[in-house]
Subunit: 153 residues, 2 copies
């Protein structure tokens, strides 16, 4: 096995330390999220600080942050050394904002749904749950309203 110096790791060591399967590491490398040098025999050698990037990917996965966003974040991070504590704070605050935003969307959907449980009209014209942006309202005449089973609107 390649005897890697202290700050250079084989892919096997990275797998053992991060729990990421090789297929995922290959995938992230193809996507440009992580980098490696190669030995004379074409085997990957990762800098130790690459573990930090992989940790950030793992966190992003848990938060359901898409890799495209991770790539954006990584674009503002140094490639030649580990991100600092300040870098991490910037990233984590960004992701926290996204969590907050997602929570707000869910809360507002919960409110809408609560309002609609008692109603149940599901009218294409009037129901905010079906037509949140009012896109159909005023789209010309015609029977766009879905009728109640027993009542005429």
């Amino acid at each position: 096995m390649y005897a890697s110096p202290d700050d250079h790791l084989t892919i096997g060591e990275v797998i053992r330390r991060t729990g990421m399967p090789a297929s995922a590491l290959h995938f992230y490398e193809r996507k440009g999220l992580i980098f490696s040098e190669r030995t004379s025999g074409n085997q990957r050698i990762f800098s130790r600080h690459m573990l930090r990037r992989i940790s950030l990917i793992i966190v992003a996965k848990r938060l359901h942050i898409p890799l495209s966003d991770v790539a954006e974040v990584f674009a503002g991070l140094p490639t030649d050394r580990a991100p600092t504590h300040k870098d991490w704070q910037r990233v984590s605050r960004r992701w926290k904002k996204q969590l907050e935003e997602r929570r707000r969307v869910i809360e507002s959907l919960e409110r809408e749904l609560t309002g609609c449980i008692g109603c149940g009209c599901l009218s294409m014209k009037a129901c905010l749950l079906l037509n949140p942006d009012d896109t159909l309202r005023g789209h010309g005449p015609g029977p766009v309203r879905i009728q109640q089973p027993s009542a005429t609107p």
Copy 2:
């Protein structure tokens, strides 16, 4: 054009009333979520109450409820008539519970992330954000801890 009676709609009419593209309606039919009869010329004829099912699909989409869950819900719904108000209440309460559950998950992630913003260790062994189920802890000896940039552990 096929002159459909009051409670039978061509796919074009369904598209105009629901805003769903034909490709999606075809897709939902293939998945068994909606049904249609056919004219002698093999063109689809939808019962008017099928609009209700489509409305439910639209709501589910907004709530990010997967179609597999919609299929489960539809399995408990009558196919020969529109779902009743009671049916709708059952469904909407079910989906509201799922929203609540998602919100709780996000809230707990928010708490974790808030705790980790100040920390930033991202240690594979100690960080709950990276290792929520303690899966790596006690996995034998060896340097599993990701080191801080300046300090030795």
